[in-house]
């Protein structure tokens, strides 16, 4: 079953079939990316604007690369140079760019719900490239694609997500999708980094790093977003954090056979994850995530474009 919506705002509402449809479509684009001429014409003549109201070089470059390989005109807009700083509202900014006949907006925004808000008031397709603490669907899709490639399946796997769950839209998107796909999800981190009502996710919350790693097929480390801690102190020091919540080679031994380690990047080496894990090709699939990111974003842009034209 295909994906029939105008926008991609999050994974919470998506069916299993819809999620798998994105993953299988991405596989074809991955093959293309590995060929000599990495280009198709499926978005030829279309305009994709990367509207980034929050900095993220890697996500923007990934979307830009994907859009260009599909033959679209990809334009980058970032808030630092924007009218948003002159007091223009988000919707006015979007409507202005829409008037330039934009087909797809890739929207990154610091406020939760911003993508849905824009989607409700724009005829263009909206891809949520991360909104506040809410969702980051393409990152979760590329995580799932990477897991599927390495483990050969998704259903029945046990995944542990470790770190700052509260501030992580990546975790939220992954949790919803993984539960839909029949995966077991465990969470771990300092209690100060857990959402107060974490039980709404229906995941087991672990008490120790050992409990978290034990029995896991996939270990998903989150980045400690030191810039997001706005005054409160979720942990006393990075030294203590790495001791109790960091991933080392020794700890990985507790996992199920052939575990893989994911990280959305950029990495704080020695804080949430040690270099010996990052550099270990047996377990680390971090660069595969980056590679798959382009394929996933191509699949998403291509599918939304088809929906728009049909």
């Amino acid at each position: 079953m295909a994906y029939r919506h105008k926008d991609l705002l999050g994974l919470r509402e998506l069916s299993k079939e819809e999620i798998l449809f994105f993953l299988s479509s991405a596989q074809a684009f991955k093959d293309l990316n590995n060929s000599e001429v990495k280009k198709t014409r499926s978005l030829h003549g279309k305009t994709v604007i990367n509207a980034f109201f929050e900095n993220s070089t890697r996500t923007r470059v990934s979307f830009e690369t994907g859009a260009k390989r599909l033959g679209a005109d990809a334009i980058n807009f970032s808030a630092s140079q924007s009218s948003a700083q002159k007091g223009e509202t988000l919707l006015d900014t979007i409507h202005n760019m829409e008037a330039m006949k934009t087909d797809i907006f890739v929207l990154r925004h610091p406020n939760s719900g911003a993508a849905q808000f824009v989607a409700q008031h724009s005829d263009a397709c909206i891809v949520n490239a991360g909104d506040g603490l809410h969702e980051h669907p393409t990152q979760a899709l590329l995580d799932l694609m990477t897991i599927q490639e390495h483990k050969g399946r998704l259903e029945g796997l046990t995944v542990v997500i470790i770190g700052d769950i509260f501030h992580s839209r990546v975790a939220r998107s992954n949790i919803w999708a993984m539960k839909t796909l029949g995966m077991t999800v465990k969470l771990f981190g300092p209690p100060t980094m857990m959402p107060a009502h974490v039980d709404v996710f229906g995941c087991h919350v672990c008490k120790t790093m050992e409990e978290a790693i034990e029995g896991s097929d996939v270990i998903m480390m989150l980045r400690i977003q030191l810039e997001r801690q706005d005054g409160s102190t979720p942990f006393p020091s990075t030294r203590e954090y790495s001791k109790f919540f960091g991933l080392s080679s020794t700890r990985i031994k507790l996992a199920n056979p052939n575990p893989i380690v994911l990280h959305p990047g950029p990495i704080n080496r020695g804080v949430e994850i040690n270099s010996d894990v990052v550099e270990n090709p047996e377990v680390s699939v971090i660069l595969n995530q980056v590679e798959n990111g382009v394929a996933i974003r191509m699949a998403v842009l291509d599918i939304l474009n088809r929906n728009r034209n049909s």
Binding site: T89, N111, A114, Q116, R172, A196
Partner: protein, 425 residues
């Protein structure tokens, strides 16, 4: 001039009676089952004749933000909701922290003459939280109580002084109960819904901590504390405890807090964004229980107009607050229909108790000798609350364009008809 309201059911806090109301000048002169000759005759067959509603918590944005509402449009909105007495909060620009602003507000309301406007003065000068205002002077000018509403009085010493000093003038302090040091940047109730939406939460403890402090300060000072817009179950538990121990404490609940839960926010609708925020379903039930049992003294709207442009933004950036005056009657009647409260209790919550708390001896009851402030209410009328009916300059109500049941069809202020529902009576 003589006015007769005939064939209605008069509802008072202590009972109901089918009788006619005779008004001469500003005053109710007789309650009778006889037909009386009058200059103006209002047939209230099938209607409820209630004392004019007293809303202890409104924001008229005047002076300073008259584009949202002003004393005139606020007055018109009030009487369209059956409300004849309003207490506007002091968070105007400039802040109502001195007698001259209080006087100006009252004068403007008198000029239009639709309602009695009883201003609430600030607790502290300029809302700065340190020096208390000239309460005596402001009371002389017409202020009735004191609150830095919108902001809590964070210093316990200052709150103590305010309670002690206001007690000397037989007045009281209204607490906007919030411990702002607990969870900054919160935009909705902290709960499963905020976790799903990725919005920063305000735990109900943020309110409860402040309620606990203020009830203890009322105990210390023997002053009277009134807790504004209670939203959480534990706040009510604390208030119940304080009252059992003889502390002079009263409280109000806003209609939205007994009508909606935080699950209404699942679509990021900014019209449901308010402070204190919509809480869990359990809290909503607790509000209803408090209204039923008698623990809650007052229903007050916290009518908070905002311009559409200000609400039409990302959720985090939208201001807190919704309209309330014209939806007070239908939302409260819904509780009556649900069997939570009786019509008598409705009058107690919306008129009799506010009159008692505010020492307004001539209001809050339909009886001989009382001021003829009267709301004639049709409990069964269904209608769409649309932009034509809405009298506020603002439109920020989640109930706009919804079908509602029950409304004030005629409102009398001091014996004069000041509102007539379109196409009714």
């Amino acid at each position: 001039m003589k006015t007769l309201i005939k064939n209605g059911t008069i509802i008072n806090a202590d009972g109901r009676i089918n009788a006619n109301v005779v008004i001469e000048g500003e005053t109710i002169v007789e309650i009778t089952t006889e037909e009386v000759q009058a200059d103006v005759v209002i047939d209230a067959t099938g209607m409820l004749v209630m004392p004019g509603l007293i809303d202890m918590h409104v924001h008229f944005r005047d002076p300073g933000q008259e584009y949202k509402d002003d004393v005139i449009s606020g007055s018109e909105t009030a009487v369209a909701g059956g409300v004849t007495t309003c207490l506007p909060m002091a968070n105007t620009t400039p802040i109502n922290d001195n007698a001259s602003i209080t006087r100006a507000m009252i004068a403007k309301a008198k000029e239009r003459g639709l309602i009695d406007l009883l201003p609430i003065g600030a607790v502290t000068q300029g809302f700065k939280g340190d020096r208390i205002v000239e309460m005596g002077d402001m009371i002389e000018a017409g202020a009735v109580a004191f609150s830095d509403d919108g902001l809590p009085v964070s210093s316990s010493t200052v709150m103590r002084a305010a309670l002690e000093y206001s007690r000397g003038f037989n007045s009281f302090v209204i607490s906007h109960s919030e411990d702002c040091s607990l969870c900054r940047h919160g935009v909705m109730n902290e709960g499963p819904t905020s976790t799903i939406l990725g919005l920063k939460g305000m735990p109900s403890e943020k309110e409860e901590i402040a309620v606990a402090r203020d009830m203890l300060l009322a105990k210390l000072t023997k002053g009277h504390i009134h807790i504004a817009h209670v939203s959480s179950a534990w706040s009510l538990k604390l208030i119940e405890l304080a009252r059992k121990e003889g502390v002079s404490i009263t409280c109000e609940v806003a209609p939205h807090h007994f009508s909606f839960s935080d699950e209404h926010l699942l679509t990021y609708d900014t019209y449901f964004k308010m402070s204190p925020p919509l809480r869990s379903k359990c809290d909503v039930e607790a509000m209803k229980e408090g209204l039923r049992s008698g623990l809650v003294d007052v229903i007050a709207t916290d009518h908070a107009p905002h311009h559409t442009d200000e609400k039409f933004v990302e959720f985090d950036k939208a201001p807190f607050g919704i309209l309330g005056l014209q939806t007070l009657v239908p939302l409260t009647l819904a509780l009556v229909k649900e069997g939570v409260i009786t019509l008598e209790r409705m009058v107690e919550l919306t008129s009799a108790n506010p009159a008692k708390i505010l020492h307004l001896d001539n209001k809050g009851k339909i009886a001989k000798g009382m001021l003829a402030d009267i709301a004639i209410i049709d409990p069964e009328m269904t209608y769409v609350y649309d932009e034509k009916l809405n009298k506020s300059k603002s439109k920020n109500s989640p109930l706009l364009n919804q079908t509602l049941t029950g409304a004030a069809v005629k409102t009398l202020k001091s014996g004069r008809v000041v509102f007539d529902f379109p196409n009714c009576l």
